[in-house]
Each structure stands twice: as structure tokens, then as C-alpha cells.
Symmetry: C3
Subunit: 266 residues, 3 copies
């Protein structure tokens, strides 16, 4: 699978997918910058009056519910419907859907009214959407990982989608094929936006490869390997780590992916 991942990462750089993001204002800058460093072209087009027109030119759509305003909510529904019509892949990041009812409602509204290609979330979020009791605290997951694979598979089958659960080990599945990614760094938990950035990168990879499981895995492996490099360069300094993470995503080489990548089928 590593060779397929290497190819997908090359394709992102070669094809510069135009990734539209409707995302929270906490990490919107980070998402734009990491997409550029990854080789994609970000467009934070999020006005309700604009998104239907814009759907005609995008490569993929990333929807993150972090600080969803009413206007973003309207735009997200319109954008997702139109992107579905055009066959553009959509990545849904159901931030805090395990802790806040509205977040879960909007997540289900999007799942019911659009063709979501990948749901990317942490254990608490995915378990909540799957109808399992996840352990959450605010926007963070405190889940211990028990039943994680089953929750992902069940959610994926229910919505005929791919589920990518981030955590110490990332789990990516379409319900039948399940892939694990073991890259990453504890430093990712010391910055805000690591989950959002991972989700944005998934939107870039699914834009260039039809196999959603492997393309989502490619994004999470890239994020994980880059985080490892950044942590080595930064030491235990969260501010410095965050800057070096952008550098590391930009510098990521094929040989680094081959050497460090810890991916495999379950």
C-alpha cells in the first residue's frame, strides 16, 4: 500500500486539486497553509450565495463543523448538495458531534442530504455518529479505543462511506477493507487544528484517487510522518512544532514515506 500512497501524494502535487473548505475560524488559516504546503490549492469559499456556483470548479469539498455559524451551516448544506450533484468528493469533519447536539444534527443532515465520501473524526465523534457511547470532553476525545474498529466499520456501512478515525492508530475503512496508520506524534495534541488539518489533507487526496480508503490513508500517513519529522526538529516546543509541521509537509519526500510509513491492512 505504501507505493499507492506515494503515488497519491505525487498526484496531489502534480494536479494541485482545488479544495474548497467550509471550516471553523479557529484553524482556517492552518488548513489553508497546510493545503498549500501539501501541493493543493485551498479556497475558503463559504458564503451561501457563492457555494453553488463555486461547486462547478472545485476538485473536492471539506466541511468542518468546528465553529459552524448559521451562515456557514446554510452554505454547507447547499455546497454539499451541489458537490454531490457534480460528483465531487466531500469530506465531513463532524467536530464535537459527540458533545453538542447541534453538531450531531448537522452531521446527520449532511449525511442524509449529500454523498459524503469520507467522515474524518476522532474516536468520540465517530462513535457518537455510529450510535455508540463515546467518551468525550468538549471537543476532545477521551476514548480508550475499545470497539473503535467496529464503530468505524458500522458507520461506514450505514452511510456507504469511508470512515477515517484519527488517534494513536488511525483507522480507515469502508466497512469491508480496513487500513491502519501508525504514524504520528504526541506533539499533535499540543496544538489546535491537527485534526482539522488532517481532514483538509484528506480532501486533497480523495480529489486525486478513486480508492477512498487508500487516499484517506495517504493523507493521514503524510500528516503522521510529517508530524514525526516536525517533532524531531522542534523538540517539545508546541509553537515551534506547529511551524515546522508546515515545513515538514512541504518537504515530505517519497523516500521518507517509504522509510517511515507505518500502514497496513487490518
Amino acid at each position: 500500500m505504501l507505493e499507492q500512497i506515494v503515488q497519491i501524494l505525487k498526484d496531489v502535487r502534480a494536479r494541485t486539486p482545488l479544495v474548497q473548505a467550509i471550516t471553523n475560524y479557529v484553524t482556517i488559516n492552518d488548513c489553508a497553509n497546510i493545503l498549500i504546503c501539501f501541493g493543493a490549492s485551498p479556497a475558503m469559499c463559504e458564503a451561501a450565495e457563492e457555494v453553488e456556483e463555486f461547486a462547478g470548479v472545485i476538485s473536492s469539498l471539506y466541511i468542518n463543523l468546528g465553529t459552524l455559524t448559521e451562515e456557514q451551516h446554510r452554505a454547507a448544506v447547499l455546497a454539499a448538495r451541489k458537490a454531490s450533484e457534480y460528483g465531487r468528493p466531500i469530506v465531513l469533519d463532524p467536530v464535537a458531534c459527540g458533545a453538542i447536539s447541534r453538531k450531531k444534527e448537522v452531521s446527520l443532515e449532511l449525511l442524509d442530504n449529500a454523498r459524503i465520501s469520507v467522515i474524518k473524526g476522532n474516536a468520540g465523534e465517530i462513535k457518537s455518529l455510529a450510535g455508540w457511547a463515546g467518551k468525550v470532553r468538549g471537543v476532545d476525545s477521551l476514548d480508550d479505543g475499545e470497539g473503535a474498529v467496529e464503530a468505524c466499520q458500522s458507520l461506514a456501512l450505514q452511510y456507504r462511506t469511508v470512515v477515517a478515525m484519527t488517534g494513536k492508530t488511525d483507522i480507515i475503512t469502508d466497512g469491508r477493507r480496513t487500513c491502519l496508520v501508525d504514524n504520528g506524534s504526541d506533539m499533535l495534541s499540543l496544538i489546535t487544528g491537527s485534526g482539522c488539518m488532517a481532514g483538509a489533507l484528506v480532501a486533497a487526496t480523495v480529489a486525486v484517487a478513486d480508492d477512498r480508503v487508500i487516499s484517506a490513508a495517504a493523507a493521514l500517513a503524510a500528516m503522521g510522518v510529517a508530524a514525526e519529522s516536525a517533532a524531531e526538529a522542534a523538540g517539545a516546543l508546541p509553537g515551534t512544532f506547529r511551524i515546522k509541521l508546515f515545513d515538514a509537509i512541504y518537504l515530505l519526500t517519497e523516500s521518507e514515506i517509504r522509510r517511515r510509513g507505518l500502514v497496513g491492512w487490518l
Copy 2:
């Protein structure tokens, strides 16, 4: 008082308070990152439909009026009322209330309708709320400090709250006990968000200690000491300083607080 401050900073790290922030979009990312580095768990939950439910799980609430949208305004009022009901401490950052009428009106609306634990502002903001003529220019205070202590004490007594005025010397008072913090760096004025980040940290410390004067002082002392370290590491480079400030807050040790802390009762 230094030992009490050391204990409060330890308690933040040990208890990881969940700090909800309804804050401006200029520095929302900085506030989230500094809270994580400080040992708290930030949640920028700010939708009107979400905040009442979320009030049940938070440790404290930080409200910053910097770029207050209409939706944030509605949410802030609801969140503050509910947090008051639940007895969660609330920190109000009345940004630009000395320069813009609406900012002052919303500040007074919140003070009248909720139990504000700490008002954190610069001299211009605090004097304006206290009904004194402050010197302001846009969002910055040009105040020379005259009458600062009296303005803080008067405002604190008027609203039975704690007032934390940031400046060359920070003043923290409940109207009877007044504490001064002399840490800090001129570099803080070369980045946006130093006031917002200080306010967010106050929301973290008041979540773990009942004495609001000392807990607010702990947050401002931590910010000031970290700024001194960051300035030493960065030199006169504002971009670099901003990154090293996150590192410095994360690295802050008890011995550093004891060695550098310049705090005392008036």
C-alpha cells in the same frame, strides 16, 4: 503570593480546565493554542444554539468582544447567563469598549445580566467601563496610568467583581485587595492578541482557584514571565517572539515563576 501562584499554575496542568471561549476571529487561533500550552482544554463553542447545552460541561467561560458578530453577541448573552446559573466563572474582555459605543453597551449588558468573575482589559477599557475618561485610540490604550488603581477598584466594587487591568504594571483588584504584577515585555505590544491570550489564561486559572484576585494574577504573571523568556529567546523579532511565546508558556516551570515573578500586594 508567589507560592499560591505556583500552586494555581500546577492545578491548571493537573486539572486541564475546559475553557469555553467566545472570542474574536483575529486571535481565536492564538487563544486556543496558548490555552493548550498552558495546560487547559480550549473549546471555541460559540453558536447560539449550542452554548446553553455546552454550559453544563465547561469549567469556565471567556468572552472577548473584539470582532463580536451578531451571532456571537446572542451566544455570549445566552452563554453568560447559563454559566452564571451553573456557577461557572466568566471572564469578560471588553475589547475597544472605550472607543466604540456598541462594545461598551454589550459589556454593560453582560455585566448586568450575568455573574462576571473577572473583567480583564487595558487602561482605556477599564477606565471607560468605570466611567472615567480613558485615552484610547482604536483598540489600543494610550493611557498614562494615572488613576489606574482607583478606576480598577471603583469598577470592581460597582459590579462586585475582580478587575484585571493589563499594562506595564498589571493591576488586579476586587476593590479591597489589590495586587500588582510587574512582569512582561515590550515585545507583547508588537503582536496582536497578547491581551486576548492573557484573558484566555485568566479564564483557565479562575477555573481552578476560588480566590479570583490571586488566580487572575497567576495568569498575568505566567503570561508576563513567559513573555520575558520568549523575548530573550527571540530578540527583537515579533514573528519569532510570537512563536516562542507559545513555547515559553508550555515550558514555564515553578522555579522560573519563583525566580522571575514580580508580584505583590499594593
Copy 3:
């Protein structure tokens, strides 16, 4: 012209213009920080209820349409009208107006209802406003530069304004006098917000100098020279470059402008 530029940059630092910005949430933090590093005082005052009052105290207004919310749209129209009444210079950054109809409509609404001092955009945006067919992709211009000068001059004459088109060579013109700036770095395309930051700096320079062509050129030359320094310091690392860009703007000296500045009349 270099000496005039040096003088304008000195005047910004000496007079600290209060630059109000109504700008997108992707790079709002970058715009605030770069304005501080440049010597200006940023105020992201953007609520419809606040902008008319605030127009009385500002030095200039920067309007960027990047993620224009409905509330920002209302505020921008009110702010631009009031700033025109008060004679404050206004810089319009018509982000994505070549790709999204609403962006072009709002740009024209502002041009028709306010006195815009400078339109700052990339080739795709300027050509679109000028009624020429530009090549755009999302928010980025793919324009090859053909006919760029003519498009700028035509647009400037049409609206009796100054047009500043950023690109490999920046073009600044009032339709009669045309100035070129050849500074910059490819690294600027590896971060989000380089265009927004350039626009914000133009708002700072037009606040201190009546000659809009030379003052816009001064801002773009400063941005370009700083980018060259930052790229030398950072190497090909986008995350690091972004931080060093703030440092470089802050460190910019007269001699550096004189030594590196590549500006001239067409």
C-alpha cells in the same frame, strides 16, 4: 522614486496610522500582525453597528472580500460610504472577483458607492473588474501577464482610482502614471495571505501620503523586499518563511530598501 518610498515607510512608523480592516477570517491574524510590524495600528472593526462611528477615528480602511459574510458585506458598504464622506482613503481587495459572481458584484457595489483610493488585486481579479477575460482558478490567478498594464490603466481610468496589480512584477497605475515593482519571492505563493497582507500594507501607506501611486508602490516594495530577506533567512520552508516575513517587515531599514528596491516608472 526610492527616496519617496523610503520617506513613506518612515512616515508610517512615525505616524502609526490606524488602519481599519474588514477582511477575511483566513488571514485576519496575519493582516493584523503585519500591520503592527509595519508600524501601523490595526483595528479589525467590522460590525455593521460599529463601523460608522469608527470611521471618525480611522486613518484608512482596508476591505478584503475573501470570506465576506453577510454581516461583513453590510458593514463594508456602510464603512466605505462613511470613510468616503470623511475623506479617509479606502483600499479594496476584490478577492476571487474573477471566479465568483457575488465577489464581482460586491466589488462593483463598493466602487459605485464609495471613493475607493486603491484597488489591489492579482491579474485575474483586476482583469475581471476591467472587463477583460482573465485566467483564474479558484482564488488564484493563472494569468500570464499579457495585457496586464493595459487592464490596470483601463480600470484605473474607469473608476478614477489607483490600481495595484500584484504579480511577478507589480503594476501600480492611476491610468496615466504607471510604476513597476520587481521585488518579491516565489515563497510568497507558498503561504496563504501574502496578497491580503500586501493589501493591508497599502492601506497603511495611503494613510500617510497623498500620492496614491507612489504610496501603493511603497507598500508593495516593502512587502517584496521583506519577502526576499525572509526567503534568504528561511530557505525553502513555507512555515518558517511566514514567521520570518513578519520579522523582516519589522526589521526593514532604509538602506535595505535603497539597496534592494527595484521600482521604476514604466
